[in-house]
Symmetry: C2
Subunit: 308 residues, 2 copies
């Protein structure tokens, strides 16, 4: 086949992308990783991580992201701060277009992650200081606390029920008069003594000195606003995969997450996906790093078969 | 349903089992982990691990295993040194039989791992000191070295080809006069200048002061023995999943590995498998820990559905 600039282009510098980089660099692939902002991904805004194995007392997200980055660099991974704008597929050759240049490659691993939708009511300053998007990750930090949760879909209700293993009281704020979640989840939420649903309402603000202390809730019908004394606010109003640059070249689910099989193969041979950007059953650092190692293995096998 | 002693029994204390324990303990499940020997699993015999993300300069297998164990303990996981002898399934209730007692549980996660077959010619003393069972893990440590590899199946040939990215020279020792690997892999091996196949031969011994320096190779037809100066010996003569206690209650592949889907569900509802013991595409610490988190999520969902 025609020569390409790279064997492998990795898109995204979170745990999935950096792990793909670690495996590919060790396997001596001709590889580059493109990250549009700061390597580390979502993990660097996590205040404290207790469930990534290897850190007995937990570790800050920032520190874990930095360690993964340094490990990849130590192994010789070439990391460039570049925004990928599109990918073109011409049979075995893939062209990855960046803001100011284009590169060709035999394989691509998409590890660009996903971003939880935000309320945009000033919650950013409380990220990791009471504001969370993940009950599995942060639930245990809210033992015997009062929290507010926002949303009405399956995730919001499922995660709220899970949170009641820890919290004293949970107020579920939903902008409509009934939940969108499946019936069985609704029934469980209604039966749960710790959950109080506040209908027709939105979170309109929050305040606190160092962390969340108070959440403002506004009734969208009456306009009435009230304060809830709460130490946490979990936001589950959707999650958007970072796939604008993918266009329609790959099969995706209704939410825009990339379909893969267990080998992380997408619908286009030679393009693989790993981590939160794919249709994974669980969005965690441990699942992202596992996906990434498998994606590199599959990319290697793909290239080996090209060479015959 | 009837009360059970536990929500979840985890079998195995390697990275998969300990990660399942970390997730289950944080999720406040009523959980116990049974490990028959020393917690840590295969990982503790790995001399040095460079590809587990989070350790920029690498970490010894022993230290990583210890960190994972302490993390699980810090989160309150109950770990008992017990040998599981069998599992009985009675609908939603599973009974896990140990040497001297039996416990009942709603769910089981099997994370008992797999053991590479050994030559039993004294290689144990050189584990992590030249003897390896994993090219992805240890290949980069053998840059510009001479190594011996043993086997003739797909894994042996595929991994040998991979090793030639690093090593100066690889002798592939095979006890028969032709390889068992698929034709295309055989062709690649034959074309590869760094690979020399030594037919009708076995490794009969090895020696060295602190690490492997010399590998003895014996022709099984002539009985003639010769020395190969080599710094490494990779053994790929098969891998056996640790599933004697499973009997025939679960669907397994021909090699005895447990079939699961992407949610780590086995053929019996409420029994899950994670890590090397299942039909995973890649046996690595990163894939084992990812599997484990998904298995716990699935176990939780299974239990939630029982309660309705």
């Amino acid at each position: 086949m025609r020569q390409t600039d790279y064997d492998l282009v990795i898109i995204g510098g979170g745990p999935a992308g950096l792990t793909a980089g670690i495996y590919a660099a060790r396997a001596r692939m001709n590889v580059v990783l493109y990250e549009k902002a700061a390597p580390g991904g979502q993990v660097i805004v996590s205040d404290w991580i207790e469930n990534y194995p290897g850190f007995p007392d937990g570790i800050s997200g920032y520190e874990l992201g930095e360690k993964m980055l340094n490990q990849a660099k130590n192994l010789g991974l070439n990391i460039e701060i570049e925004d990928v704008t599109s990918i073109q597929v011409d049979g075995e050759i893939k062209t990855v277009n960046l803001a100011k240049k284009s590169v060709t490659t035999k394989t691509v691993i998409i590890a660009s992650g996903a971003s939880p939708k935000k309320l945009n009511i000033g919650e950013s300053q409380f990220m990791g200081k009471g504001v969370s998007f993940c009950a599995t990750c942060d639930g245990p930090f809210f033992r015997d606390k009062t929290v507010v949760a926002v949303g009405g879909g399956d995730t919001a209700v499922q995660e709220s029920i899970f949170l009641t293993k820890f919290v004293k009281k949970l107020y579920l704020i939903h902008r409509r008069g009934e939940l969108r979640a499946t019936k069985i989840l609704q029934e469980r939420a209604h039966k749960n003594d710790k959950i109080e649903i506040i209908w027709d309402s939105v979170v309109s603000g929050m305040d606190g000195l160092f962390a969340v202390e108070n959440v403002k809730v506004k009734n969208v019908k009456t306009g009435e606003e009230k304060d809830i004394k709460a130490q946490g606010c979990f936001i589950w109003i959707g999650i958007t995969p970072n796939t604008a640059f993918v266009g329609d070249i790959l099969n995706m689910d209704d939410g825009g997450f990339i379909y893969t099989n267990g080998n992380m193969e997408t619908s286009v041979p030679g393009i693989f996906a790993a981590g939160d950007v794919r249709t994974t059953p669980l969005k965690q650092i441990v699942t992202a790093v596992g996906d990434a190692a498998i994606a590199v293995m599959s990319a290697e096998h793909y290239i080996e078969n090209l060479q015959d």
